[in-house]
């Protein structure tokens, strides 16, 4: 991923910045310019809740090339407290013991290395809470 594109996602990937609609209170991650529920364009910055539960998951056994060294790995849809859903890797888990509904929490981790001379890409992953 080219670095300007990486750089501009840092507020979300490193600091979990989301936006809360001033019209209806809905929280969006990533932030948006217009609310899909009430069409308000006024938002305040909030941080994502760091704890949540697993909605569904899979084990990736045929990964994209930049993830080959991590395969197999678990990925899931996680509903954070407050209702925002994210997709992330589930790290530090027993791949055979994942369960829908289990408690997870967000940690800051390396996502992948971008090639030999590329940047190291960071972001959030979830781990069993």
């Amino acid at each position: 991923m080219p670095s300007p594109r990486y750089w501009r996602e840092i507020p979300q990937r490193y600091r979990l910045e989301a936006s809360k609609c001033k019209g209806c209170g809905k929280v969006f991650f990533p932030p948006r310019l217009v609310c899909s529920s009430c069409k308000s364009r006024e938002f305040e910055m909030v941080k994502l809740e760091r704890e949540g539960k697993l909605i569904t998951y899979t084990i990736i056994r045929v990964p994209p090339s930049q993830f080959t060294d991590q395969s197999p790995y678990a990925m899931g849809v996680v509903e954070l407290n407050g209702g925002v859903k994210i997709l992330s890797q589930i790290a530090d888990c027993n791949l055979d013991k994942l369960e829908i509904g289990q408690k997870l929490r967000i940690e800051f981790r390396k996502i992948y290395n971008e090639g030999e001379a590329g940047i190291i890409c960071y972001g959030y992953k979830c781990v069993p809470a």
Binding site: M1, E9, P30, I55, T56, Y57, T58, I59, I60, R61, V62, P63, P64, S65, F67, Q70, Y73, M75, G76, V77, V78, K85, I86, L87, S88, Q89, I100, I111, Y112, C121, G123, K125
Partner: protein
């Protein structure tokens, strides 16, 4: 709005067509459709193609394909909505004829996917998902549909065997389709023992990577009666809808909302209900997709797609035959062409030209084509008159 007929369809043999270029693959199918219609010209053209830029490094298909079809200087447009590009091209062709802007319109689709290595194809396909919030984290398309499958199994008790039965049925149908890429029959055991790609989906739950094209010729009903002696197939309903591009943003991971809305629009326009449909071609990019889609269209009850498949309701001799062509699973899935090929199958069925896989007395058929994990859907309903 003018009434619109499909007077010609064309599709070539799909597969790994290493000796053919994108332009040749498309032109072959387009010429078959033109010959089938018996027209000596076309007035305008729409081509669905998801990612010729990433697959073969070629954009500007409007010019390239109109040129090689020998139809310059007609107006032409390349349409992109990921794997729903073909269905959307057909819808725009329909609207162009209905509006009175053009009389004879070619709606086609093409994808040339095997000129890149498998990793290149995986990357190109992944661009149909959210690059920043899905793909960045390591997800793949099998992974997205695997999460839908897991959620469906958890919520409705859908079984692993029922997923396999979708593949078994579609390969059985595809064995009677001489144009299918993988006409081999498979058993539940074959599917259940095939390589795991993204739990719980295995390789035989996934549609293949394919080179192929398909085309249809549309014109107003009055003109159609003068041009062709074949049974006239009319487009009676057309619907298109969108949903969040990211799977995780949806309220219900097991429901394909864009298909539900596009289906409702098409049914309303057609004045038909799900029980009036004699056969449907749906977007089985993965076995779970067919189950979710037939539920979203109301062809079976919500949560019962797996059971309906197990009970044979969706088989050739079932209550509502699904994917008589073999579907994406057996026929192949050149993404931009798929939506148009679905229409080719329905037209063949409604004209009574579907050979061994013919549904006797079929009068009304439906096609459902979707992009990504369901971020966009296009539904058409056709009737033979």
């Amino acid at each position: 709005m003018r009434e619109v007929a499909i007077i010609g369809v064309g599709m070539n043999k799909w597969g790994e067509l290493w000796n053919k270029s994108l332009r040749d693959v498309f032109t072959e199918a387009a010429l078959l459709a033109i010959d089938d219609a018996g027209v000596d010209h076309i007035d305008s053209m729409y081509v669905g193609c998801m990612s010729s830029g990433l697959f073969v490094g070629q954009e500007h298909l409007s010019s390239l394909l109109a040129d090689y079809l020998g139809t310059n200087p007609i107006p032409a447009a390349r349409i992109e909505s990921a794997c729903a590009s073909g269905g959307l091209a057909l819808r725009l062709g329909f609207i162009e004829v209905a509006s009175g802007t053009s009389d004879i319109v070619l709606a086609g689709g093409v994808e040339k996917m095997t000129d890149v290595a498998v990793d290149g194809a995986t990357f190109a396909l992944s661009t149909a998902a959210d690059q920043e919030y899905e793909v960045y984290h390591g997800i793949t398309f099998p992974g997205l549909y695997a999460m839908m499958a897991r959620a469906h199994m958890h919520k409705y008790g859908t079984t692993r065997e029922q997923l396999a039965q979708v593949a078994v049925k579609n390969h059985h149908n595809g064995s009677m389709n001489p144009l299918a890429q993988f006409p081999q029959k498979v058993t539940v055991e074959n599917v259940m023992k095939s390589v795991m790609i993204a739990d719980p989906l295995r390789i035989l739950d996934c549609s293949p990577i394919t080179d192929g094209a398909a085309a249809a010729i549309l014109c107003p009903m009055d003109l159609a009666k003068k041009i062709t002696k074949k049974p006239l197939v009319k487009i009676i309903g057309s619907g298109n809808a969108t949903d969040t591009i990211a799977l995780h943003s949806r309220d219900d991971i097991t429901e394909i909302g864009s298909t539900k809305v596009a289906g409702e629009k098409a049914f309303k326009m057609a004045g038909k209900k799900p029980e009036n449909i004699d056969l449907a071609e749906v977007h089985d990019c993965f076995t779970i997709a067919e189950i979710c889609v037939i539920e979203a269209l109301g062809l079976v009850d919500k949560g019962k797609g797996g059971k309906a498949t197990e009970d044979g309701l969706t088989a050739l001799d079932g209550k509502i035959p699904i994917n008589t062509s073999g579907g994406l699973k057996s026929k192949g899935h050149p993404v931009g062409a798929t939506g148009v090929a679905q229409v080719c199958e329905v037209v063949k069925q409604l004209r009574g030209e579907a050979g061994d896989r013919q549904i006797k007395g079929a009068k009304v058929g439906l096609t459902q084509n979707m992009g990504g994990s369901g971020g966009s859907s296009v539904v058409h309903i056709m009737e033979v008159v």
